[in-house]
Amino acid sequence: AQRVTQPEKLLSVFKGAPVELKCNYSYSGSPELFWYVQYSRQRLQLLLRHISRESIKGFTADLNKGETSFHLKKPFAQEEDSAMYYCALSTHGDYKLSFGAGTTVTVRA
């Protein structure tokens, strides 16, 4: 069965510092990976997906099949990046999105 692990529950960084959120998955096939974000008092929403290979709000994520990881990175964190971040995995034919436990990011001034 597929599984998503986010080892950090809490992450605190200073404004302007790099931030990296770790995500590891277990799945033997070809997964589709996502990062979702929930800002304070807002709905959970998609931040980015690996097949798009795009940078959203300065965030990027690279799928590393060898290490089964999909870490989220931003070189210079901003205060508005403070939020809850979830890594999610979808597998072909299974048709469900499995979420990690989430990482709460706090960016301090």
């Binding site: 996502f34 709905r43 959970l44 929403q45 998609l46 979808s90 299974d94 048709y95 469900k96 999105l97």
Partner: protein, 113 residues
């Protein structure tokens, strides 16, 4: 455009009762997903409906059930409520044959006393 809407926002029940939660997807979306977000446990997949059919089910007991109506809205029923059913229940919708991007509602907070 209206987003995913869920009702009720809050629901308080006692152990053994039944709870019904409702979800209206974004217009044009035919897939509806239900997740349970219990304190400290992240989002646990409950059910996926597409075109009126249950397509997938998470690791939850049969007392968690639901359905999808012809207008693609959905209902989640939880029978014989237990204290540990207290959680935020999130509904999400997407275009068919998902999940690509899921669009989430604000959730229904169920409290079981």
């Amino acid at each position: 455009e209206a987003g995913v809407t869920q009702s009720p926002t809050h629901l308080i029940k006692t152990r053994g009762q039944q709870a019904t939660l409702r979800c209206s997807p974004i217009s044009g979306h035919t897939s509806v997903y239900w997740y349970q977000q219990a304190l400290g446990l992240g989002l646990q997949f409950l059910l996926w409906y597409d075109e009126g059919e249950e397509r997938n089910r998470g690791n939850f007991p049969p007392r968690f059930s639901g359905r999808q109506f012809p207008n693609y809205s959905s209902e989640l029923n939880v029978n014989a409520l237990e204290l540990e059913d207290s959680a935020l229940y999130l509904c999400a919708s997407s275009f068919p044959r998902g999940p690509g991007e899921l669009f989430f509602g604000e959730g229904s907070r169920l409290t079981v006393l």
